[in-house]
């Protein structure tokens, strides 16, 4: 075993060692501070918000585990950890360069591999950290849609694919100075904190995975009627939702990438109101249908509101945030039934929460943007939507971006999962699925001291 280790490390050192040769820019931060004595508060803001975004990893892990069965909890913990682990390493090596490196014809970035050379700079590292936690979020969304049947190995490879290719390239188009940001409509395609870049991408890659995998054993009865498969812990699901809501306060307000944009206060308020409206509408709609106060759907509704407001949060006012969140709450309810009735099995509702509402979020910018705020700045060009006399141009830019986002995510996701399936089969065996993935894949039951049902 030891030989293996040393070998492994040797390679590492060599590969990456190259890095430290090239010369660096401002690694200590002295010059940057001299140039801009007010930067500390921006660094503090961005880092703290970034920490909150990182913490969303815990939120996703808890929500997904809570909404799935005890016999797959270990597997979900493994997947929700490994995706951020691989995201960190892969995005540092390739993703960041593809997304934020020097633009090549609006298609990809081409510099900053392994954060080496002139990227050894406090400003670049700061931007890397911020973009990384977002990449990690996009990656982890998928684990919910493919839960309880996807092999760990396949998920391992998938997380490399997403953070090395799918996410950074699309991200470049919108945030890296790529072609979508330069669309000749409105202010170009805009996505303030990533309803599209992060959530639509995650949601539709998830849809692709769910389709390639097919539904879980027992999700549909003989005559294709969907059956509920209750999750094993509502407390964990609720805890996870609170953690995500908390983390979203880093996700959206932090996306100003500057504390000198006092608009952060408006962003925080809008983020919160959309979450509340989404939760309220979702629980009320299900109540009208079943006369029960459905907690699971309320939690989904809350997340739906957060996803939807992510794109518009900086360009709208409070009442619009409520409206956007309310629609999101309705979309997630309808969406969950919609997919199930079409034989698509999405154990935690990731496709409806992140996929559909990511799209709604992008569109809502074209409707509700009120023209009081610009592109992460208080000056022109301002983003203006239909209801505020902005006409259709911004809406068009948003629709184009949404279409591209959905197609890109679904297509690459589908190809990726299909290829893996061809090579080694991405789904566990029926017996393993029946027994749960924890023991066959990991050897470790999640709750060995508890008497559990495995159905």
């Amino acid at each position: 075993m030891f030989r293996k280790i040393t070998a492994f490390l040797a390679i590492f050192a060599v590969t990456i060692g190259m890095a430290c040769l090239a010369f660096a820019q401002d690694p200590s931060g002295a010059e940057t501070l001299a140039k801009n004595p007010n930067s500390p508060v921006d660094y503090v803001w961005i880092l703290v918000c970034g920490f909150l975004v990182f913490f969303m990893q815990a939120g996703f892990a808890m929500v997904e585990a809570g909404f799935c069965r005890a016999k797959n909890a270990t597997n979900l913990m493994a997947k929700n950890t490994i995706d951020f682990v691989m995201a960190s390493l892969i995005f540092m090596a390739f993703g960041f360069a593809l997304m934020m490196g020097n633009d090549y014809r609006g298609l990809i970035g081409t510099s900053g591999w392994f954060l080496h050379g002139e990227n050894y700079d406090v400003g670049r590292y700061l931007m890397f950290f911020w973009q990384l936690v977002f990449a990690g979020t996009a990656a982890t969304i998928v684990s919910g849609a493919v839960a309880e049947r996807l092999k760990f190995k396949a998920y391992f490879l998938y997380s490399i694919l997403v953070t090395a290719v799918i996410y950074p390239i699309y991200g470049h188009w919108v945030w890296g100075g790529g072609w979508l940001s330069k669309l000749p409509f409105g202010a170009g395609h805009v996505d303030f904190a990533g309803s599209g870049v992060v959530h639509t991408i995650g949601g539709f890659v998830g849809l692709a995975g769910a389709l390639v995998l097919g539904p879980r054993f027992g999700k549909f009865d003989k005559d294709r009627k969907p059956r509920a498969i209750p999750g094993h812990s509502i407390t964990l699901a609720a805890l996870g939702t609170f953690i995500l809501w908390f983390g979203w306060f880093g996700f959206n307000p932090g996306s100003t990438f500057s504390a000198h944009q006092l608009r952060i206060a408006v962003v925080a308020v809008n983020t919160n109101l959309a979450a509340a409206a989404g939760a309220a509408v979702a629980i009320l709609l299900v109540y009208l249908k079943t006369k029960k106060w459905d907690v699971g759907m309320m939690l989904n509704g809350c997340l739906a509101g957060l996803v939807a407001v992510t794109a518009p949060c900086a360009w709208i006012e409070a009442w619009a945030a409520v409206a956007i969140g309310a629609v999101a709450g309705a979309i997630v309810v309808v969406g969950v039934y919609f997919w199930e009735n079409r034989g698509v099995d999405d154990p935690v509702g990731a496709v409806s929460v992140h996929g559909l509402n990511g799209v709604w979020g992008l569109i809502s910018v074209g409707i509700f943007a009120d023209g009081t705020y610009g592109l992460g700045s208080t000056s022109e060009p301002f983003v203006k939507g239909l209801l505020y006399g902005g006409g259709y141009s911004q809406l068009i830019a948003q629709l184009i971006g949404a279409a591209v986002c959905v197609s890109w995510a679904f297509a690459l996701g589908f190809i990726g999962f299909k290829l893996m399936d061809k090579f080694f089969g991405i789904r566990v065996s029926p017996q393993e699925e029946l027994k749960g993935l924890d023991i066959p894949e990991h050897g470790t039951p999640a709750y060995p001291n508890f008497y559990t049902y495995s159905n």
């Binding site: 909404f67 509920a228 459905d294 759907m297 309810v333 199930e340």
Partner: protein, 112 residues
Amino acid sequence: MKKIEAVVRVEKLEELTEALDKFGYPGMMVTHIEGHGRQKGLTEQFRGREYKVNFLPKIKIEIVVKDADADKLVKAITGIARTGEIGDGKIFIYPVEDTVRIRTGEKGDGAI
């Protein structure tokens, strides 16, 4: 010796234990089982979708008793466990060949 096996509603356990104590039968084995019978199961729901649960939590009480005491205990249990609603449960009586008290090695009625 006979074994009295009673399937009863969960909420009856406490009362039954006290009663049996009084009858001088502290000894019993209690198992949490899932019952299935005439009684309808529950309808539950998860993320907007309803589903039926066909098993209901029940308590199974097993007591080994002297032949002589069987009837009065069965009566006692029936009395306490009855609500008149479907789902009250059942009592089964089985023959027992022998009993051993592990602590002392005693056998027969004395060991009960």
